[in-house]
Symmetry: C2
Subunit: 311 residues, 2 copies
């Protein structure tokens, strides 16, 4: 009756404290999670969760099961890694093209983790900018592209990672700070500070400014911290992922505003050659990204798993 599935759900529930967020984490609907918990409670004749308003709290019984999950799920993942090693799918290469500059932030620790588990896999970042990153896969120059590309292509598979909001970043006290939501025209008033990549690769420009026919001034720099420094010192405004600026917001180094009423969102995918899609270490890499990102990055949302995520 109790299955690993339930433990994974409870784990997510414990971390998120919410049925619907937990559901997203395990790629199920809120309803499915609700049913799962109900089934567990009926099976054990015990309440697993306790509701104080909307917030979901685990009961002692629930905590005991989460504790079990903690002990067990790691063992399972570890065993599955060993199986990959046995099947000699433990060696290979994972050369990553990062289309999203800010993604360094979360990717770095994941890479460290990955190296520990897969010492035989050559892990690298492919540097430089590329107009068509996916073509690097075909040319065997890279093995993985992390970016926004998700159009179906022959021989390429896109795994959905997550959706995140891009926020306008302003110096505290900036005039635009008085608005709750910024519109395209607002960006004409100040210098736009971006990474040094082509205009069409900047979501704000491609999706907001260009369609609105607004002109802009641009200044570029390599590092996220540098962008934030420039913003804070009133040299301009920027547009960055919410999770990338969380700490700076908390310390009120900068402030953030939504772009457009419903916000400017960007979707991230991980693309690989079709023949690599079932490589065990690749799957493990994906799994780790999932775990780490959803646990640590604020405000991200899961994408539908329709992009081939079975097996």
């Amino acid at each position: 009756m109790l299955e690993l599935r339930h433990l994974r759900t409870l784990n997510a529930l414990d971390e998120t404290g919410s049925i619907s967020l937990a559901a997203q984490r395990v790629h199920l609907t809120q309803s499915a999670v609700s049913h799962q918990i109900k089934a567990l409670q009926e099976h054990y004749q015990l309440p697993i969760i306790q509701r104080s308003g909307h917030a979901v709290q685990l009961t002692d019984a629930g905590k005991r099961l989460v504790q079990l999950a903690g002990k067990i799920l790691g063992e399972v993942q570890s065993a599955e890694r060993d199986l990959a090693k046995i099947s000699q799918q433990a060696a290979g290469s994972l050369r990553i093209v990062l289309e999203c500059h800010t993604c360094f932030d979360w990717l770095m620790p994941i890479m460290d983790d990955f190296r520990q588990h897969w010492p035989e896999v050559e892990l690298d970042l492919v540097s430089g900018f590329h107009s068509d990153p996916v073509s690097l896969l075909r040319q065997q120059v890279a093995d993985v592209v992390i970016g926004s590309e998700n159009k179906p292509q022959q021989g390429i598979i896109h795994f959905p990672l997550f959706r995140f909001e891009i926020l306008a970043v302003l110096a505290p006290g900036h005039v635009l700070g008085s608005k709750r939501v910024l519109e395209a025209a607002d960006f004409a008033q100040d210098v736009l500070i971006t990474y040094p990549v082509p205009e069409e690769r900047i979501d704000l420009i491609r999706q907001v400014l260009m369609p609105a026919g607004v002109s802009w001034q641009r200044r570029t720099t390599e590092l996220t911290v540098a962008i934030l420094q420039l913003v804070a010192s009133r040299r301009g405004i920027a547009a960055l992922p919410g999770w990338g600026i969380k700490n700076y917001l908390d310390y009120e180094y900068v402030i953030a505003r939504r772009i457009g009423t419903s916000g400017l969102w960007s979707d991230l995918y991980l693309s690989v050659r079709e023949q690599d899609a079932s490589l065990r270490y690749l799957r493990d890499f994906l799994e780790t990204i999932d775990q780490v990102c959803f646990a640590r990055l604020d405000g991200i949302k899961p994408l539908s798993k329709k992009g081939t995520r079975k097996n």
Copy 2:
């Protein structure tokens, strides 16, 4: 994809070394187990078992999963016991009536184990012989009957334990030893040594001798070892469960013969009052019996689980 179900199956497969026996252990058909393993192999793209003729051997990958099962399944059981404690189903009484005398052999260690896990449950054996053991349940004198009773009765639930063969036990060199299979008439030749219970409670008499109209001489004694001693010293012959005499056979202290061409079989059930059937400690007791008996008793076969074994 991998679920606890698979680990339980692999565990049984490891212990039995056979697909069909493993299937019986986990209360599935042979086909189901075969399909499970096939699914695992396809999922991991690895052979899990290796066949040398009919004998099934685990591959390294299979062994790794069994190792995982070993680590995990105990944790699960332990967590489930804790849940029972949380739900305050940890206290109660388990007064056992043992209809099958020889069953002391395997029950004793199980009781010891049980006491450790459920210190709050008063565990006892109800001594003496009873013409209708199940009525003791109704009278609240006992909580559990282990015996052959399986006729549906109002308010009583019978959990199937297992089926075992009753063998004729002879002194080495006994004349009847020359026959491969003993028939009813053969038992008229020698003294029958039994436990001191009514005739109708002795399977050999009720199912073989009486139907055949054969007469017999009987001598009784309390302990299994005493019976074996009398047999070995040529005071008579006995009929005992195969697993009960295994050690004595191995040391050639006595020899055993099948009774009738297809053997004399006995089914064992565990009966409880309906309202007790979902008690957590009772379920745990049942689970332990299952584990221990199938792991340690030779030649026993599972019974169909039709007697209400869900939840």
